[in-house]
Point group: C2
Chain length 507, copies 2
Amino acid sequence: MTQEMYDTLREKLAETSDIGGVLSLLGWDQQTIMPAKGAAIRANRMATLTKILDEKFRSDDLGKLLDDLTEFEESMPFDADEASIIRVTRRDYKMNKLVPTELKVALMNASNQGYMAWVTARKESDFSKLRPHLEEIVRLGKESIAHVRAGDDSFEEDYDVLLHRYEPGLKSSEVTRVFDELKAATKPLVDRVRERESSIDDSLVHGTFPIDVQERTVLAVAKQLGFTDDAWRLDVTQHPFASSPGIDDIRITTRYHDDFLNPAWFGTMHEFGHGLYEHGVSKSLERTPLARGASMAFHESQSRMWENLIGRGRPFWAWGLPVLKRAYPDVFGSATEDDVYRAVNKLGPSLIRVEADELTYNLHIVLRFEIERDLFSGKIEVADLPEVWNRNIKEYLGLDVPNDAQGVLQDVHWGHGLFGYFSTYALGNVVSLQLWERIRQEIPTLDDQIANGEFEDLRNWLAENIHQHGRKYTPNELLKRVVGTERFDPKPLIAYLTGKVDDLYGV
Amino acid sequence: MTQEMYDTLREKLAETSDIGGVLSLLGWDQQTIMPAKGAAIRANRMATLTKILDEKFRSDDLGKLLDDLTEFEESMPFDADEASIIRVTRRDYKMNKLVPTELKVALMNASNQGYMAWVTARKESDFSKLRPHLEEIVRLGKESIAHVRAGDDSFEEDYDVLLHRYEPGLKSSEVTRVFDELKAATKPLVDRVRERESSIDDSLVHGTFPIDVQERTVLAVAKQLGFTDDAWRLDVTQHPFASSPGIDDIRITTRYHDDFLNPAWFGTMHEFGHGLYEHGVSKSLERTPLARGASMAFHESQSRMWENLIGRGRPFWAWGLPVLKRAYPDVFGSATEDDVYRAVNKLGPSLIRVEADELTYNLHIVLRFEIERDLFSGKIEVADLPEVWNRNIKEYLGLDVPNDAQGVLQDVHWGHGLFGYFSTYALGNVVSLQLWERIRQEIPTLDDQIANGEFEDLRNWLAENIHQHGRKYTPNELLKRVVGTERFDPKPLIAYLTGKVDDLYGV
């Protein structure tokens, strides 16, 4: 009888998960290869599936099933598939049900309009074009938060509800603690870099890189890391991303600049990290809500690990430089590993987040987190955003913002309704170093392996310790399992960044 | 009140049509670009959406709405969007509801297993590997037909139910009449061609055609016909097809042989014809069950028109030869229009349907239709198929079938559960000539326009007279509107084929 109920649950989850997987494919297609005029009907198709998914995921049948399965769940070990599927689904279900469908639809519409307004606002560098849309999005967001908090008393403050969407269980107070420590340690490092910025020459990576050669080269790199043609795709987009219509259908994208090596090279390694995560989820979790990453920070820990800890590490270039020499003999013919290592690691403050280096990137995120937190606690208003933005860029990075397009309007997130998301980028960096410390202990020959282009031990470690679990654990639970503490700890990241500044710019 | 009911109907149809459009995209992706290992989960995703679609399209709510709208429908002109949407949806709904879901699922499963068995059977040229699957498919098909006929007395015989799926309202007796006339007229033409087969040299199209040049060239041809980047895609598949995830999202595919011009060149023109049909459906029918072609024969009339009546006509090569000369100067440098015209029109019996010429193609279809009709009337059994096949190929085409792979096992259709479909290919040829006669009357300068690569008048005529209506009319109704008779008439096709044989092989 109980087994039957569990089977029914799995059938229902298979259905919702199928719709989710289809939405992921529709989104991928929309952003990569769809003919432009297909946009209008595609938006309708996706809205219809989203509505059907929401209906199915708030049905009373599903709620009753989850209630009735409580005893079954408790009879199982915490980390059994069955118990985890029931536990995590119940959490998702409750959260989904707390917000009325009409409010969700209103938010989706406001976000779509906000997105279009943002495109114009950024083009014209005119914040006033976006402002009313942001005000509406924040208003609806607060309304949605009120519904959630009325039915769930586990949150300390309003903003926690937004964090919870991307980082289940994460509290604003914890992010503040982590980011304050990170900010305090980073700012003096930025000052040191600023004093000696010209000591690194990165002209090597600003050469001539024909796009067809880049395409072949980054695909070869991805294959060395673990990309296989039978389960992956690599395509082109303006804004790269990774998507997984299925555990064995992983689609990553990149973009090519014909005069700059980094975007395609490191972008591909980054998205490979995301893709590998979802490709490594246990098949026993396919067609359940658990067949994704534990959280956005954990996801980002994987992409940053491949992009930065591997791709921007010294050992990697023992394997990577010969690849570059073969692909671009004119540019890299006489370059040494140290030349490339230094060129791809040049640090220095800049205005645009997506172009920022490893060091200052985190300050871009801290700034956005602080603004979001203060916006939702009522300390600041939407109208204050440009001023607060510009003041903090000056304080954190020492730069003057010449216009809003290069300032508060640079990112799509807010206009598109994505509040609570930014933190996960820097938390991903934090987690990647917490994991990296443990990995280096457990794979003592890792540097040698990387220098030889061997990534199998690393992939296996990640699959076993992280990827296979999908969303079984909250980020804090997963941290506890893997590194022994459930807290996000910025110290390994700070030590790593300090070491890099020492190495590149002198002690 | 009535308007409100109609709006509710449109909302329901928008939802089902969105799911249908998504299924079309999922199928396109599956057959063109999906990583191989994505197949298993893709099958699940598609089955889930198919199930949701079937549920929604058999709901009592929808049935009641259609009943309640009868008076509203009757108050409107027959060809008004509103009346047509209600009328055609009701027809689909009734038909869908007559077959129990479990039987549909059983047929789908049998077809999937039949497909896999067919792959093996064809590879090993062993009909016995497919036979039990075909028997099961036919058994389930007959069961399904019995359900339909128990609830709908409009069919003359069992096989009509299968025809109706692809050709609403078409009767087996009408197909027999058309095909008997076509067969009687074609066989003597085939005999004439056989006597003088060597008089045509097609070595021109069996040259060296680098695939990248072919890709650029067929895309340029498609663009000349009406393909635009903002609403179309052209991709590669093993088995070319056209798909429309939306009226403004048309996706056609082709395949390239590096030693044979025809597959990509004529295949692209063929699929363009299908794509143009769905691209031309009135936007007022988007998100309804009417946003497709009237029937498979009407669809095929469009693809065959572009492939054969235009692409294999003399006037086309005035424009087409210079294209070939630029693309393949070594092959076509000294060729004349007549050389190319003759090469692409070489006739002669052959064993494989998809490689057959314009003349013998219809006999391949007649043979399949007769087998299907006799199978479902009980005159023959599945076990008789190879023998009947081989005997009729000998009689119709004068050829000996060396093995079942080149005989009864060559097509995927039956193994995949597609009975009733084949006729539409030859009926498409019939319709294309019925339409062509009318078009040539109404656009007297058509030949000159084609010779100049101008297709706008033709596209406009097709859009206005056929495409815009989508599925508003049954094929017989549409024929009546466009050519004045509701009957499929093979005479124009026979006259055309006779003229071609006269022209190519002498009177």
